[in-house]
Amino acid sequence: MQIRLYFTAAMKWFMLSVILLAVGCYERPSAERLEYDSDAVQALRQEIKSVDWDE
């Protein structure tokens, strides 16, 4: 048995789309995004401000 693959217009666009998707959405492993807690940030800024660093 032989499967024949017709390289039709639809096929062509489909393949192109798959390739573009693969290239475009490939993500290199990378470091995590820095997450923070806005309330903690505010509190920390307050604390840092309240210390006399001039000693």
């Binding site: 017709y6 390289f7 039709t8 217009a9 639809a10 062509k12 666009w13 489909f14 192109l16 789309s17 798959v18 573009l20 998707l21 290239v23 475009g24 959405c25 490939y26 993500e27 290199r28 492993p29 990378s30 470091a31 995590e32 995004r33 820095l34 997450e35 923070y36 807690d37 903690a40 940030v41 505010q42 509190a43 920390l44 800024r45 604390e47 840092i48 309240s50 210390v51 660093w53 001039d54």
Partner: protein
């Protein structure tokens, strides 16, 4: 195409349009021809097929767009250092509490802000010397999204010129980084190669400016000499900002192994308790005692985490960086190529190259850089020295590359016969490289040589690309050189 889509390496539709075949009504090949050749179909059927094909394409294009993130740009965590600390201090399979990642994020954001709203951590107020190290107006000009105001003054310079290679965090891991050789610099180790100060002293503004203006020949770092001085200065300050921030982040992570389980870096509950106690107007004796104790604990932790590690360790070394400049003594007369003794001087340099200078061991007998070549630079050494990691076996460091580390590559000793010098080819620059060594690389400093000996080496290095070793006197010093 300005979109610095750092968060996700996603496909950019603007780039699609710029490709010739898509710009032209989205058709690449003469569809008629191809279809008549293979499938002699009815014209109506063909139109239908084309319609389906275009629909599929449009859908995929939409999906492609859809995978772009709408989150505002953020700095990245130093996941590699976090992992390294775990491997150094914890047993296999053990991890630090994930809450520490967020706490580090909060502390860093409190002090340094976000990429769109950066902050200069001036703890001492208006007189803080850090405001001279990184001027807030410069930081604001270099950070943020790319913009241009009516006066033609640009903003977002770092994202426009630097971030695609150096990354928005300055981690040397922008979208293009993996494809470059050498890799772009990761600022967070606070190490710089081409500078006029010794090892472990920070570079002067002058040095960073020079790298920006001249670029680094032989690497992917181009010259930004066409930018106005003000913009260069802004970028220099922002590089320092990212360096200080990155180094402080590493210091914070190094503290983790000192903490007991669940103990935070900065205990906000303790701080709260302190403020509550301090607010009591007529405290009892017991309360007073408690206040004293809590105050001490609170201040200790604030000084330990912020005062010492940020102000004293990460920032202070940048204040008065100019004081550490290495003095370059004047070259002896024989250094001048017109001088009668010049050939002898170069021959002295050649002798040192093979003997007390130890140069040939790495740069090779003929100076083409083929000596010891299995070393790594410090940006790789930083994590490949972790127990269990073998830089020549990717399986042993998979966890690190997954955390964002670039696969380590051995560093090559420079080919001295090319006449191309990354830090600049002026004799003074080469003098500095030999005297101070090159930070972050195996190239050592040479405290055992006198300045005249270093000048002789400089003369030989400058002679190597163009001179003929056969013309040098005293041939038998090393016949290997003549084999070139």
């Amino acid at each position: 195409m300005i979109g610095p889509r750092i968060a996700k390496g996603c496909f950019n539709i603007a780039y699609l349009r710029s490709l010739p075949c898509f710009g032209n009504r989205l058709s690449c090949l003469p569809a008629e021809n191809s279809s008549t050749k293979h499938t002699p179909n009815h014209p109506a059927k063909r139109t239908l097929k084309h319609a389906i094909a275009k629909l599929v394409f449009a859908l995929t294009a939409l999906m492609t767009l859809g995978c772009g993130e709408t989150l505002p740009p953020a700095y990245k965590l130093n996941s590699v250092e976090f992992l390294r600390q775990e491997k150094l201090f914890l047993g296999s399979g053990e991890h630090f509490d994930d809450a520490y990642k967020q706490e580090i994020g909060s502390i860093l954001t409190a002090l340094f802000g976000t990429p769109n709203e950066p902050l200069v951590p001036a703890l001492l107020g208006e007189d803080d010397p850090v405001l001279e190290v990184m001027r807030p107006e410069n930081i604001n000009m270099a950070a943020g999204p790319v913009s241009l105001d009516y006066h033609g003054k640009g903003g977002g310079l770092y994202r426009q010129h630097c971030s695609h290679c150096h990354g928005i965090t300055g981690d040397g891991n922008g979208p293009t980084a993996a494809a470059l050789n050498p890799y772009p610099r990761d600022f967070r180790l606070a190490k710089f190669k081409y500078k006029s100060t010794p090892l472990r002293s920070v570079p002067r503004d002058h040095d960073l400016t020079k790298v920006l203006v001249n670029g680094v020949p032989g690497t992917s770092m181009p010259s930004f000499g066409t930018l106005p001085d003000g913009e260069i200065a802004a970028l220099v300050d922002y590089v320092k900002f990212l360096t200080i921030r990155g180094q402080y982040e590493r210091y914070l992570m190094a503290e983790l192994s000192n903490l007991d389980d669940g103990e935070p870096l900065i205990d906000l509950k303790l701080a709260q308790k302190y403020h509550q106690l301090a607010a009591i107007e007529q405290p009892t004796e017991q309360q007073e005692e408690e206040l004293e104790e809590v105050e001490e604990q609170h201040l200790d932790s604030m000084w330990g985490v912020v005062g010492e590690r940020l102000m004293e360790d990460a920032i202070e070394r940048w204040v008065d960086a100019d004081d550490n400049e290495t003095e370059i003594p004047e070259a002896p007369d024989a250094f001048d190529s017109g001088h009668d003794g010049h050939r002898d001087f170069v021959a002295t340099g050649r002798e040192l190259f093979y003997t007390r200078g130890n140069c040939a061991q790495c740069h090779g007998d003929t100076g083409v850089g083929n000596g010891q070549i299995e070393s790594f630079d410090d940006w790789a050494n930083d994590w490949i020295k972790t127990p269990g990691v073998n830089p020549f076996n990717p399986k042993t460091y998979k966890t690190f590359t997954e955390a964002g580390a670039l696969p380590p590559r051995p560093i090559k000793p420079r080919n001295l016969t090319e006449g191309r010098y990354r830090g600049g080819g002026q004799p003074e620059e080469i003098f500095l490289r030999i005297t101070n060594g090159i930070e972050g690389t195996p190239m050592p400093a040479t405290p055992a040589l006198t300045s005249d000996e270093v000048w002789a080496l400089v003369a030989y290095v400058k002679f190597l690309p163009y001179g003929d070793v056969n013309e040098l006197p005293d041939r038998q010093i090393n016949e290997k050189a003549i084999a070139r």
